[in-house]
């Protein structure tokens, strides 16, 4: 469905732009139909930049993105709009995603104007009602209100409902639940899982490993702009090979164990995976350690 090859984003830094900072460095990955792929990494690892590049909000510095076999790296105007019909995003902070001057349901009006100008009001209202109901909102309660009169969870559902109105195939969910509290969080997660059953693919960007494990069938671990490990969630989480993935997994507090009871991890492939991206100039290669399980090895 979506295939990124050597995706790179460089930012100029320093006075007169002399320095170059690689926010994303040659990232290659695939998202297939009905996949929920979690893109996991710490702050500043380039997760959001990858999401924004797929959404064409940030220009690509190198590499390419193919959607259904077509190169979408440089599409404009009409083609871009067609692309947005299939690929949509939901952002991290629901409060800043709404223009505070207008009522929250304006985002739906925008969708109608841009994508369904020919639809009659009655048909549109029905479509909108259905879409709101499918994300668990009562249209009468939430429509015609200002963003600050709605809760974060409601706003986040608004955004998902908006994406559903466009019949999307791929949803880029950028930390969509990090601003929500625990109970609404699981509702939104389950909603995503339900949408997957209906055939939606999701790129789930998160820094939370347990959320990533809970929902996704594929995981990509990102560190300093480089994909260090990726593969089916089970393999990445239960047989982590790269030392960064291992330390990341060790850093998750566990519900059933105190910190001093946790057994030390047997370091398996440490001899071949000592590479820390950005610290070394050596090229690294994605190597298939077991079926579909890739690790960056120099």
């Amino acid at each position: 469905m979506l295939e990124a090859t050597n995706l790179t984003k460089e930012f100029k830094v320093g006075s007169f732009g002399r320095g170059v900072f690689k926010a994303v460095n040659k990232a290659s990955f695939k998202i297939d139909n009905k996949d929920i792929v979690s893109l996991i990494g710490e702050s500043g690892s380039g997760k959001t930049t990858i999401g924004r590049m797929i959404l064409k909000l940030t220009q690509i510095s190198g590499g390419q993105i193919k959607y259904n076999g077509k190169d979408v790296s440089d599409i404009k105007n009409k083609n871009l709009k067609e692309y947005y019909r299939k690929v949509q995003g939901v952002f991290q902070d629901p409060f800043s995603t709404f223009n505070p001057i207008f009522k929250a349901d304006r985002i739906f009006k925008m969708v109608k104007n841009e994508f369904y100008p020919a639809l009659s009001n009655k048909e549109w209202e029905k479509k909108l009602d259905d879409s709101l109901k499918s994300v668990g909102l009562n249209p009468k309660e939430v429509l015609n209100k200002y963003p600050h009169q709605l809760s974060g969870g409601q706003l986040q559902r608004f955004l998902i409902a908006r994406a559903l109105l466009i019949d999307v195939e791929l949803l880029i969910a950028d930390e969509i639940i990090s601003m929500l509290d625990a109970s609404t969080r699981i509702d939104v997660l389950n909603l995503l899982a339900m949408l997957k059953e209906k055939g939606l693919s999701v790129l789930f960007i998160t820094h939370d490993l347990s959320l990533g494990y809970y929902i996704s069938n594929k995981a990509i671990i990102l560190y300093r702009g480089v994909i260090v490990e990726m593969g089916p969630t089970d393999k990445v989480f239960f047989n982590p090979v790269h030392s960064y993935t291992q330390s990341l997994l060790d850093s998750v507090p566990r519900l059933d164990m105190k910190w001093d009871e946790i057994p030390k991890r047997k370091k398996t492939y440490t001899d071949i995976v000592s590479y820390i991206p950005g610290m070394s100039k050596r090229e690294l290669k994605m190597t298939e350690i077991e079926e579909n399980h890739f690790v960056a090895i120099e």
Partner: protein, 290 residues
Amino acid sequence: MKVKNEKEISNTKEILYFTFKNKKMIIGMCLFLFFLLLGVFGPYLTQYGPMDYAGPGYHPPSSEYWLGTTFFGQDVFSQLVHGLRSSFGVGLLGGTIATLIGLSVGFFAGYKGGVVDEILMMVTNVMMVIPTIALMIVFAAYLPYRGVTIQAVIIGCTAWPWTARAVRSQTFSLKQRNFVSLARITGVKTIKIISGEIAPNMLSYVFMVYILQFGGSILAAVTLDFIGLGPTMGISLGLMLENAVLWNAIQLGMWWWIIPPGLAITLIVGGLYFMNTGLDEIFNPKLREM
């Protein structure tokens, strides 16, 4: 379509409702409108021209000369209402020119960024350090006579840089907000994003800029008039003050000559500032009381 119209009307109604509930706005508007009406209709109420020698000089306010006469016997009320006209003229023209230039430069530089921004900001910075007074002195030397219009144009063309800078930085921060990203992934065109997403968020600011530029132009004109760089023909509030000070109105106790123009300037500009603070509350739903 019908539903959409109804909703838009209710939105307008809402803004009007909050406008007439806001005390600052009402005070400011009353002051401003009072002087505006005085400037528009005042000249029809007086039988003397502003520069006519209407009667005895040094005459305190009476039923015939409502605000008394000057040292030379000109009617102060007539001068005041004609002066108000030219002051509003300067404010309107100078304020409009400054706001338009400032907004276009600011929006364009802020949204485009990069080289466009660098060049526009360089021009802005150069304009910023050219003082109106210096330009006015140069023009005074070359023009056979100076009118209110040329004065307003010069004020407008030198007052825009700070507006451009402020609008640019606001646009910079607004274009990085998620709602602009959301509009972009909905396929909305750039111009529509600026006018539909970014500008409405700055509507109160744009109004504020206009009001401040309006008041600023009036003050700048008064300053220029007062130091003798005003219009060579006609009358203005600044020229009234200049003449009053020049002919020792204070020392002679002619309060009716010097207080009306000064008070009018203070109240007009003060009223504009009142409107300005009120507007922010009207346009930002967050600041309204729930």
